[in-house]
Amino acid sequence: MIFELLKGLNIAAHHMVRYMAGPGNVTVEYPEVKREQPPFFRGRHRLQRYKDGLERCVGCALCAAVCPSEAIYLEAAENTPEHRVSAGERYAEVYQIHLLRCIFCGFCEEACPENAIIMGPSFELAMSKRTDFIADKGDMLDAPEKGFGDYHEYDPYISHVTAESDKKAKADPWDKSHAAGH
């Protein structure tokens, strides 16, 4: 009996050591370690800027129009020479996304004619108050200190799936090694 118990513990210990140290582990030490997301990952929304600091968003409200869960609210205003916010005549004075309504479908970034809104890699969406889930421009707009450098070109037509990776994925659904970004 003891032998069987030790045999079982040995298997457990073997797996424990293997997954703790070995290369094939599937879990990470979140929150200390955060897994890098694939480029097409649809996380929390980001509003991008041009390199000169102007907002890309021109407040056209196509994202709000296409949003299936009506999560986007937008009020536009006119740029003036004294107060220039975006590159065009128009900018979004109020831009809010209700993250509890959002289903992260990505239609907004697909509809955006200016590549202003993209869905970033951030997946940490837990908050303690319901009002915090209404993300406004301050929450989403790229901060100036980031240097506006990491401009993300959204292209819905780029496929990360090849015939080979597709075949592999179908053979072993648990194997993530074929996914782009890994």
Partner: protein, 898 residues
């Protein structure tokens, strides 16, 4: 430019033409063009520059169609294809013609033209306010190639800041010239044009000036692209986000229909009705139902910061906000107390001329049943009580309807474009396009009609108008003895008078006699109205009469008996409806005229006043005297929107519902009903006036005010006012998309409804009509005019819708909507003064003087000036007595300071 007199939809010939439209045989009238017949037959031909209200320009070339022509020498041979496709908007139909609108050639043409028009188009749809309702977008999807071959840099223009209301973005323009033609033909002002040639071709205003006519806002709607957009609406919302409410204007007594576009229940813009079958969510760029700028840009006054949206009760000298029920109790209590202390006749009820018919009806009922007197009125702005009664006499005989068309029109006095803008537009357009004679008689002629080819002007002094009309009616009856005097009054040759008489006698078919009741606050109406009615009787039964008053619902308030001496229906019917027993008397005599109300308060005869709307009090010319009188009242209950000089003197204030918050029916000056529809319920503690009156009446012990909705009031009212009415309250609501976004017609541009038909708005039995008896009363004489001092002119004036107005003053862009002061001068007087058109001058009335622009035109008679009252802050407090004014050209030094 094309033949200005041919209007495709209004002037077809009589001869039938048979031709083939996409291999289907159709019948049209001679003179019609392919596009109008196709629209009627349900075949849609894409177009930019063609508009049903405007002349044909033929410059967008998008309506190119393939035609096959029959061989005239051999009619049996098959029709041969024409060497080139032709434009549908300018090609008249002919017998045996075969038109193909969707053939390969036609499609290639459409695709090619779309590519050509888009060569220089910036494609900035995301920032363009037209995006979503743009014809360029629509046609690109429907008829375009879907891709561009344009690789070079696009043409760019600088952006002018010409007009504060209209944004001109020339890069987007496709040179359809609709705006140019609209201002020339409909707006009556040649102010826009096409400048430069070739690639540098652009649209603009002369001298970078504004498009200042009162109908200018319509070029925003009829622009098929985003070149002309609304400045007040700029970037406020995208069009697909807006909900629509079909309602009517509260400014324009012509009864203009409007669509209010709201987002989150807030008014974003107002446009003509958006009645399009093919696309429910966009403005109709082919609209023929134009609206004036006040209606378009001023309808948001209910959002003003001075709005009081809670009931208030005066406690210890201050108005304290309180609950509606508390205010009702207070108002009922103090009115009852005044009635007990000073008698029923000490209370008066005033109704705003912008109140709905339901509100007027309840006010009339309230005065007659609850208070027990005849003191209910709306006619505060008239010069005298006699002129108010004359206006009522005019309404009694009103029987004309412009929708029926006319073969001649006589206009007596009036500044129609600035008092009833869309009515003036309809009269002028009909006369201009059909070449009908326009005969203008009186001391002021509207220069707006100068584009009508059949125009004849007979000017006279204000005091002579009634005599002229009287002599004219005698001449028409065959008594030519007065022709000499008439020629002297008009300062023309006697032969010209004879030719006028012949012209009027020779008019066959329906004709209209239109009389303005506005001039000089109606000072001359007591003799002018009987004179006009005598003329109408002399002219015969085919002549119909339309009195014109600027007040939006004047006709409706007259109908419902909201004035002394008039009940909404026959006495028996009223007795039955109001549950008054047979022994009791319905008070219909001895009522207090609103005009004399201030004097009555000063004399202490009126102690209590219930006013529905402070605007009726604001229309009293002498405001200082009025405000002093209001202080003397024991009870002053007012239901209004704003914190103003008048409402601050109230003992009980009721927060009324604004034009966007109340529901009801209004009558235009032709007596046709239109529904004022609420966008949403009242804000805050505001209540519509029918609820307030119902509450006060019930609290005062009446059982006849058991209404649950405004529809109940309407049903009781309409049975008395128009027993023949066969519609319903909801049936009066205008056809148009309802307030929901759920149903979408999956865009069939080809399934478009044909153009505007005035008959669409007609409801069986909804015309308010009373008397068909010819007028046979006497014409009172007019006191002789006192001779003006040397260098002085007799001042004639009329109200101006862009002037000092209680509601307009509270619009968000009131400062942009107000007209700049001007004075109209006769060319002969201008010559003696050395004044030129458009030059600055100083107008002096009494001790006040203001700087005005001189407009030299044959509007006023020689020796008189016409000044639109309320402009430039010059108050004309004179109540009807003749005023004289001095006019001097402004000095050069003064010019520099302007």
């Amino acid at each position: 430019m094309a033949d200005q007199t041919v209007h495709p939809s209004l002037k077809p010939g009589t001869e039938d033409i048979r031709f083939f439209l996409n291999d289907r045989e159709v019948v049209g009238k001679k003179g019609e063009t392919i596009i109008t017949v196709a629209a009627r037959e349900g075949v849609y031909i894409p177009h930019y520059c063609w508009h049903p209200s405007l002349s044909v320009a033929g410059n967008c070339r998008l309506c190119l169609v393939e035609v096959h022509l029959p061989d005239p020498r051999n009619p049996d041979a098959p029709a041969k294809p024409a060497p080139k496709p032709v434009i549908g908007c300018q090609t008249p139909i002919s017998n045996g013609l075969r038109v193909y609108t969707e053939s390969k050639v036609a499609q290639e043409c459409q695709q090619g033209m779309m590519e050509f028009l888009l060569v220089n188009h910036p494609l900035d749809c995301p920032i363009c306010d037209r995006g979503g309702e743009c014809q360029l977008q629509r046609y690109s999807m429907e008829y375009g190639a879907g891709h561009t071959r344009m690789a070079d840099e696009k043409r760019k223009f600088h952006k002018p800041q010409a007009d504060p209301l209209i944004d001109i973005e020339r890069n987007r323009c496709i040179m359809c010239t609709r705006c140019v033609r609209f201002n020339d033909e409909v707006g009556g002002e040649h102010v826009m044009g096409v400048f430069d040639r070739g690639e540098g071709n652009y649209i603009g205003t002369f001298g970078q000036g504004p498009v200042s006519n009162i109908l200018s806002g319509n070029i925003i709607d009829i622009c098929p692209v985003g070149c002309l957009t609304s400045r007040p609406f700029r970037f406020k919302a995208r069009v697909w986000e807006l909900a629509q409410t079909q309602s009517t204007s509260i400014w324009d007594a012509s009864g203009a229909k409007v669509t209010h576009w709201t987002r989150n229940r807030k008014l974003m813009r107002t446009t003509p009705p958006s009645r399009k079958a093919h696309d429910r969510y966009t403005v109709n760029e082919d609209t023929e139902e134009f609206i004036d700028n006040i209606t378009r840009f001023g309808s948001d006054f209910g959002l003003h910061a001075d709005r009081w949206d809670e009931s208030r009760i005066r406690i210890g000298g201050t108005l304290i906000p309180g609950a509606f029920v508390e205010a009702v109790r207070q108002a009922a209590g103090s009115l009852a107390k005044t009635k007990v202390n000073h008698g029923a006749d000490s209370i008066a009820v005033l109704v705003s001329p912008r109140a709905t018919m339901e509100e007027g009806f309840l006010a009339a009922k309230f005065a007659r049943t609850v208070i027990g007197n005849d003191n209910v009125d709306w006619r505060m702005s008239f010069a005298t009580a006699a002129s108010a009664d004359a206006a009522s006499l005019a309404f009694q005989h009103a029987d004309g309807d412009l929708n029926d068309g006319f073969s001649a029109v006589v206009l007596v006095n009036g500044d129609y474009l600035h008092q009833v803008p869309t009515f003036a537009m309809r009269v002028k357009e009909y006369a201009r396009l059909n070449n009908k004679p326009v005969i203008m008689i009186g001391h002021h002629h509207d220069a707006y009609f100068s584009k009508c080819a059949g125009r004849r002007q007979y000017g006279c002094r204000p005091a002579e108008t009634s005599r002229a009309l009287e002599l004219l009616s005698l001449a028409i009856k065959g008594d030519a003895a007065g022709n000499g005097e008439l020629a002297k009054i008009f300062s023309v040759a006697e032969s010209e008078v004879a030719s006028l008489v012949d012209l009027l006698k020779g008019v066959a078919g329906k004709a209209l006699l239109i009389q303005s009741l506005e001039d000089m606050n109606g000072a001359y109406l007591p003799s002018e109205v009987p004179a006009a009615l005598t003329l109408k009787a002399a002219l015969g039964a085919t002549w119909k009469y339309i009195p014109v008053l600027r007040d939006r619902n004047a006709f409706g308030l007259y109908a419902v008996g909201a004035q002394p001496g008039r009940l909404p229906g026959s006495e028996e019917a009223v007795r039955k409806a109001w549950k008054i027993n047979e022994k009791a008397q319905i008070p219909t005599a001895g009522g207090q005229h609103a005009r004399d109300l201030v004097a009555a308060i000063e004399e202490g005869r009126i102690k209590g006043l219930l006013a529905l709307g402070a605007d009726v009090l604001y229309s009293y010319p002498d405001q200082d005297r009025l405000l002093a009188a209001l202080e003397k009242l024991e009870t002053f209950v007012v239901s209004d929107l704003f914190n103003s000089e008048i409402t601050r003197r109230a003992t009980v204030f009721f927060a009324a519902a604004s034009n966007l918050e109340r529901d009801g029916v209004m009558a235009d000056l032709e007596g046709n009903l239109a529904r004022l529809k609420d966008v949403d319920g009242p804000t805050g503690g505001a209540r519509p006036d029918w609820e307030t009156l119902t509450g006060i009446a019930t609290m005062m012990g009446s059982t006849a005010f058991a209404y649950e909705s405004v529809e109940d009031v309407f049903n009781e009212m309409i049975r008395l006012v128009a027993p023949g009415f066969r519609g319903s309250f909801t049936g009066l609501e205008l056809a148009g998309p309802a307030n929901d976004h759920s149903v979408q017609d999956p865009g069939g541009a080809r399934r478009r409804t044909p153009a505007y038909n005035p008959g669409d708005y007609r409801v069986d039995g909804a015309h308010l009509r009373w008397s068909s008896e010819p007028f046979a009363g006497a014409i009172p004489a007019v006191a002789a005019e006192a001779p003006a001092a040397a260098g002085q002119f007799l001042l004639t004036w009329g109200e101006h819708v862009q002037g000092d107005d209680y509601h307009l003053n509270h619009a968000s862009i009131a400062h942009l909507l107000k007209a700049k002061p001007y004075v109209e001068v006769h060319p002969a007087d201008a010559a003696t003064l050395a004044l030129e058109d458009g030059k600055r001058a100083v107008l002096t009335v009494g001790t006040e003087s203001i700087e005005v622009t001189a407009r030299v035109r044959k509007g006023p008679a020689q020796g008189t000036l016409y000044f639109p009252a309320g402009l430039g802050g010059l108050k004309l407090t004179g109540l009807g007595e003749s005023l004289t004014a001095g006019l001097q050209p402004a000095l050069e030094t003064e010019l520099a300071s302007v």
